[in-house]
């Protein structure tokens, strides 16, 4: 089978746009992993809540404004949920065994999953893209969805914002230090508990952003958390735990190998991510980029 | 018995050990001293195989051990204790030492005999020699800091080493505990015929116990000589003794 250059470029762009959503979600997961050392299974549930909240908020307004408002509000709602969970429960557990924290986040994901079902019901939901981003544009003769173009633009923006946050703001610097040596941060007289809370909320906020951004492209269903979380963990692992750029590299690897994979070896599409992880980990046992663990 | 020749190790471009030389003769008690960050612990990690040296040679009983993994080095007769307590916190005191004894007797892979009936005598003898026999049933993580440091040494003895490496054996101990511990070390060396390599901050201890002292700075060996010579060495005084 032969493909023209236009199709290949199109496929590459589709892969990148898919990577961007993965990146935004994984950057959040990786951030929490780095600072709090917690593998947050509930991250997927928060992403799901982000998508469902986007659906509800979009429906409240007529026309396209709803989606733009949802893009702001839905992640904030997710952040609020995570803040409550962190302050009420999670903050008391940081001294525990890692696996206990894993168990805790799993319990939270169970609860959130059922809460979503209670609030939104179990049926599929669908959000339409705003008018501005509907349909597709012609790109070298092949057609390319506008919404995916939008994703390609927004991904780097989030990356830059996050990067600026970690190097410019005080909280960002502290949380970076906490990732490396949390005792030192405590010695400096910084309230570690609040640093953790803020880091956790920011990580979860990104999950919400991812959920809001993905909403127009998929059917919003219960169980979308499961599909995502395992992929997100694999990405974070191959990128290097706690490394934001690692999350970006991992997402790009996943997105691009996937989109070219389905072009050339569609019958093996389901194993691509796993093979990618096996190869990366056997060559670089601590992930591609420097891990904070 | 042990020769370290021109060993180097860098972490991300930082030279933690940059040309260390050390000779330990059989039956000797040798101390390594140097300011914080001089590379003492890194050197011990290199000797025991926890880290792999970038350059240089480590020879034990005529064999180059610098490429061997830690467990192989241990099997050749080198045991160590750690500066920061490094025990098995969820096992009993007895269990802590027994792990080492079993490993030494090559019985660790036995699947079906109850461990409580194996190597009991040896383990208890070691516990008795360090004075922890009365606490053998306690969970190691619940011991006092001083006892945990002693347990450190006891675990290292479980392998019946020829060379025992002690990384600041008295760190965090009260003065009484410190002198008791050093007395214990000296006694062990005598009764078991051990060769001992240790590092220590307390200069009084070093100079009273060690037969030979190696001084490190910035990862480099300045000198290895008898306590007398070291005390009188100008460079050492400038670099280290004078500084404190």
């Amino acid at each position: 089978m032969t493909f023209g250059g236009a199709e290949l470029i199109c496929q590459l762009l589709v892969g990148i746009s898919r990577s961007m959503i993965l990146f935004i979600v994984c950057a959040g997961l990786s951030f929490v992993l780095g600072v709090l050392r917690v593998p947050n299974i509930a991250h997927g549930s928060l992403y799901m809540i982000g998508a469902f909240a986007t659906f509800s908020i979009t429906k409240m307004f007529a026309g396209s404004t709803g989606f733009w408002i949802a893009l702001i509000l839905a992640p904030l709602l997710v952040a609020l949920v995570s803040l409550i969970a962190e302050r009420a429960l999670f903050q008391h557990l940081y001294q525990r065994e890692h696996l206990m924290l894993l168990l805790f986040t799993f319990a939270i994901s169970l609860i959130l999953g059922d809460l979503v079902k209670i609030v939104w019901g179990a049926e599929y939901k669908s959000v339409s893209a705003p008018a501005l981003l509907k349909g597709s544009i012609s790109l070298l003769g092949a057609s390319f969805p506008r919404y995916n173009l939008f994703l390609i633009l927004i991904g780097p923006l989030v990356a830059i914002a996050l990067w600026l946050f970690t190097i410019k703001t005080k909280i960002g610097k502290i949380s970076r230090a906490a990732a490396v040596d949390r005792e030192m941060v405590g010695v400096l007289g910084i309230n570690v508990s609040w640093v953790f809370a803020i880091a956790f909320v920011i990580g979860c906020y990104l999950a919400g952003v991812g959920g809001a951004l993905v909403a127009p492209t998929v059917s919003i269903t219960l169980g979308m958390d499961h599909t995502l979380i395992i992929e997100a963990f694999l990405i974070v692992i191959i990128g290097g735990l706690g490394n934001m750029w690692g999350a970006l590299v991992g997402s790009l690897i996943f997105g691009i190998t996937h989109s070219f994979g389905v072009l050339f070896w569609p019958q093996f599409a389901i194993v691509f991510p796993y093979i990618a992880v096996v190869i990366v980990l056997l060559l670089r046992p601590k992930g591609l980029l420097k891990s904070v663990w | 018995m042990l020769q370290v020749e021109g060993v180097m190790k860098s972490f991300d471009g930082f030279m933690a050990v940059n040309g260390a030389n050390l000779t330990v003769g059989k039956g000797e008690i040798v101390a390594v001293i140097g300011p914080n960050g001089a590379g003492k612990t890194t050197l011990f990690n290199l000797i025991t195989g926890t880290l792999r040296r970038d350059r240089g040679r480590i020879v034990f009983k005529g064999e180059d051990i610098s490429e061997l993994p830690p467990y192989e080095i241990c099997k050749r007769g080198i045991s160590r204790s750690y500066q920061i307590v490094n025990i098995f916190p969820r096992l009993t005191v007895f269990g802590n030492v027994q792990v080492a004894v079993l490993s030494h007797q090559r019985k660790s892979s036995n699947l079906f005999r109850p461990a409580q009936n194996i190597a009991v005598e040896e383990t208890r003898r070691i516990l008795e020699s360090v004075g922890l026999l009365n606490k053998e049933k306690s969970i190691a993580g619940s011991l006092s800091h001083g006892d945990q440091k002693i347990l450190e040494i006891a675990i290292a003895l479980g392998n019946e080493p020829e060379l025992l490496i002690l990384d600041e054996p008295t760190a965090g101990m009260s003065p009484e505990e410190t002198s008791a511990t050093m007395e214990l070390v000296r006694r062990l060396a005598k009764t078991r015929g051990l060769t001992i390599l240790f590092c220590e901050h307390d200069m009084d201890i070093v100079f009273s116990v060690a037969q030979s002292i190696m001084v490190m700075r910035y990862g480099q060996t300045i000198i290895q000589a008898s306590p007398e010579e070291v005390r009188n060495n100008k460079e050492v005084q400038e670099a280290y003794l004078g500084g404190e």
């Binding site: 898919r18 179990a122 599929y124 669908s126 092949a142 057609s143 269903t221 169980g223 389905v262 | -």
Partner: protein, 410 residues
Amino acid sequence: MERVIHRRNFLLFPVILGLMFLVHPVLDVKAQGPIKVGIIDTYSGPPTTYTYDVRDAFKLAIDEVNAKGGVLKRKIEFTTRDDKFKVDICLSMAKELIMMEKVDILMGTINSAATLAVSEYCKTEKIPFIVTFSKSEKITGEKGHRYIFSITENTAMIGKAAAAGLAKKPYVKYWIAGDDYEYGHALADGVWGNLKKLKPGVELIGQSWWKVGEPELTPYLTAITAAKPDAVIFATGGASMVNAMKAAKATGFAEKVPMFIHTATEHSTLAPLGLDAPEKVIGTSNYHFYYPDTPKNRAFVKAFKDAYGREPKVGALYGYLAAQFIVKALEKAGKMDREKFIDALSGLKVDSPVGEIEMRAFDHQAMLPMFMGVTKKVREYPFLIASDIVTIPAKDVMPSIEEIKKARGQ
């Protein structure tokens, strides 16, 4: 002191056991109690789009019957269990319904693997089991037996129906894409095998398969567009349906390449999409609430809407059919005897919202007609509906008895 605690600890065990016995309802005296139907289905996650309708329509029909005094002067009672779309839970729950609740008839399941597992169990326990949503053709085909009935379409039927419809279209170069699991592959094989038979000139130029639940289908669609087929057969179900339709709309795929998706025209797919669904997609379905426009169907739709405030989807037809078959078979059997019930149900005909449906005696597969249509926006509804509907009669849809025998190795 220590011994006391020991004893308390082991006393706990008999106490728990005792509690288990207490919870266990005493059901042995049930001679003239209600007839019990157990429904085991997925009531969490995406499949609820279908299963809730099955349950609700079944309840609607049963309530009607009970209001008139029940069947054989006994009421019909049903209990539901959620299997979470998991085979092992489904098996446990089915066993619980049979052993503890002592149900007379079991129905439900949307997960094919779970259906096959429960089917084997029902065979050993001699319990009639009516499948309401699983699409595997093995259920009444290769693995069929005396105790299993299916009142839903299966992959073999979809294949036949789709091929019959597509053979009339002018397309030659096809591409097949779908969910990478048994349903997808079986459906694709069914459509393609039959299409090849009806129209030997067709050509398969490529295939793509994605994992079940794959959220982003755009890369697949752009890959397919690049190959320039005349038409694409999508073998997807469940949540992937909605994803496929969305991606088809966003990439403009639907306007460029004619696409066939089974259930694309079905209300379960079109309702959540609202006006975002692509037009001109060819689809097949067992049921539309607006077609066939018969008094019987109108009455059913009205009753369903009055009760639940929404239009019935295809699942509602299955639930309603199940109730109709059960009630009529019981009446015919004369009493609640499982063997007699099965004899009565085999070959039984009921007058359903989509016309008269027969339960084929040989393989216990309900003979359902299929409706092929094309998605279209209309003014009356805030969602798309099927237009240009062609009815493919049951006789053209059903696998032949020879085929079933062959599959069973007879």
